[in-house]
Symmetry: C2
Subunit: 366 residues, 2 copies
């Protein structure tokens, strides 16, 4: 005798067999009556449905059905940080929205999985969850262990903004090109002293100025992760520009407050830069606040540029100079990749177009 798995609510729940018996048909017929995937006479179906209602049967158990069919209708979204941080970023939300749109099309739903929840390695939680596919959202370098575990399970894996190492098909944009365009725009305006507010390089909330040594430690062509790619591009671009200085400050989190704090360390320096490039619009908003607090006119005293093209709802007619990226489309593209992979194809990487949008927050220095 095996134990009956805990059945909440006391009485044993009716199964499709019970319904079939009550309707005087075989389980297989009852199954067909529910799924509609086969020839069943109308009268039979009616009888089955009546019996189901009678027995308070709520339809086939999703778990059993999934086990039998080998698909469970779940696409996991692995976000690097805890949910609160991930979704505080309008960019991420837009991505998620696009993803949900396409995933809904596949009769699947999104399962949210924080990569680094409290104690576990993340892999444990992730591999103990039923899923058809996993979308790695902004995961710098997904642990090889995790990737292996998912692969062993036959889980389709797709990445967004991850390193194009070939391990996982990725949806991304030209972070390097975008950054270079921003630098070119500012240098073209005459700026020779730039400050870059970088996205967090790690999940520990560590922020603050990045020394040359720090930057070198990232590698000359730092590949993995959005912040690193943009940093590398900013260094390269300023190196190429004549007599241009650039300083980097890392934000602890991608939050307005952190952008403000990071900007402050540059603006309060005796020789403050004439322009700030924030690696996200959220951080750029922090820069604008820092400038406002100090009575600095933007763009008169300070130029500020962002990255993402998210709508910031600034007061008045201020429009942030930024790189617009198709965030929702990013999510959709990832969704389509999942669909393709689920169908047995091997999707190629997708590179989405970006565009420099010049707003009112950048102008000539002085």
């Amino acid at each position: 005798m095996t134990s009956r798995p805990s059945t909440r609510g006391g009485a044993r729940r009716a199964t499709i067999s019970d319904v079939a018996r009550a309707a005087g048909v075989s389980p297989s017929t009852a199954s067909l009556a529910f799924s509609g995937a086969g020839p069943v006479s109308d009268t039979t179906r009616a009888r089955v449905l009546a019996a189901a209602r009678e027995l308070d049967y709520g339809g086939p158990d999703p778990l059993a059905r999934s086990l039998r069919r080998g698909r469970c209708g779940v696409v996991a979204v692995v976000v690097g940080e805890r949910l609160g941080y991930a979704f505080r970023d309008p960019m991420m939300v837009a991505v998620l929205d696009g993803l949900a749109e396409v995933v809904g099309t596949l009769d699947s739903s999104l399962l949210l999985v924080p990569a680094r929840s409290s104690a576990d390695s993340g892999a444990a939680r992730l591999t103990s969850l039923a899923m058809d596919a996993a979308v790695l959202l902004d995961c710098e370098a997904p642990a090889a262990a995790l990737l292996g575990a998912l692969h062993r399970r036959g889980v389709v894996v797709v990445g967004i903004d991850g390193p194009a190492t070939g391990a996982v098909p990725q949806v991304r944009i030209d972070d390097e090109g975008g950054t270079a365009a921003l630098v070119a725009h500012l240098c073209g305006l005459g700026h020779r002293d730039l400050g870059v507010i970088t996205l967090p390089l790690g999940p520990d909330g560590a922020g603050g100025p990045l020394t040359e040594a720090d930057l070198d430690a990232l590698g000359p062509d730092a590949v993995p992760g959005v912040p690193r790619r943009r940093i590398a591009a900013a260094r390269a671009a300023t190196l190429a520009a004549p007599e241009t200085r650039v300083r980097f400050v890392q934000a602890g989190w991608n939050l307005v407050e952190e952008g403000e704090r990071a900007a402050a360390t540059l603006l309060d320096a005796p020789d403050r830069p004439t322009a700030l490039i924030a690696q996200s619009d959220v951080l750029a908003l922090g820069c604008l606040r820092a400038a406002s607090t100090r009575g600095l006119d933007v763009p008169g005293d300070l130029s500020v540029a962002g990255f993402d093209g998210v709508d910031l709802h600034l007061m008045g007619s201020i429009r942030l100079t930024t790189i617009e990226q198709p965030a929702t489309e990013k999510g959709r593209a990832a969704g389509r990749m999942v669909a393709a992979a689920l169908a047995g194809d091997t999707p190629d990487d997708v590179l989405l177009p970006i565009v420099l949008r010049i707003g009112t927050t950048t102008g000539p220095p002085n």
Copy 2:
């Protein structure tokens, strides 16, 4: 011969029986070796693990395990609108964050389910998904059909901000009291002509002025849903105040743009109100923008109050007058209710405290 469920990746995946056979033990022993829920000698466990590695076995299939155990480690979050709208609201994000925090504690993950995806009734999708519990997020009046379906399945259901009808245990705040406090604050300052920007009353994006008839149609003590409760409270409070007029305009969505548009219809009227109460901080930001666009000084020419206590990142030293509610705690409370219900308890409704935070956006009229 039954068909083998589609096994992505060609070769048949190893099962725990395969591993057991390779390790020279019984399946049950292998199971114990993985779950750790029983006495297994170290040498045996080592042999099983080795065999698993050898066969590229990624551990017990979550689906089968869930079926057998009767729990699947999934808590569904049902959001009224499409994800993009739900998460554009910082309040919702905070709630979700708190929920995720507690749910993670239960070794469970969050499944996002848009209540009204494109075509289906919502119930169909929801009941074809494996879940231990469902959290109804801001669902005005969850279809009885849906509730019934979930209940038949033995799914624990918890609501946030829903109607306290007793059908589902709810986490909520005193929307009526908060609204009354805002009205009292403004009337106390001397305002006699108020405008209320309401949250959407439906999912159709319909916005615009609400006539007396519209309001009456909501019922004198409109119960279900946050917008209705706050509307009813605002009507009651202004009715009680002497010689006070109040006009209502519905925002199509809970978005800054919609708040701005709704505010515009009031501000562009010949006899514009001297104060606006927005039913969310997001909408209040729209009001501020509308005022800014029209060169209206806040609070000199116009007072603006919000609701939620979300951080809006306004420029300068502006702080929004609003009702602060513990959004993250709301999510946590719902998570704890889920935990309790899963443990067999019947959780009571939870009413969380709110507080009127007076900022710089409200002041005496003229």
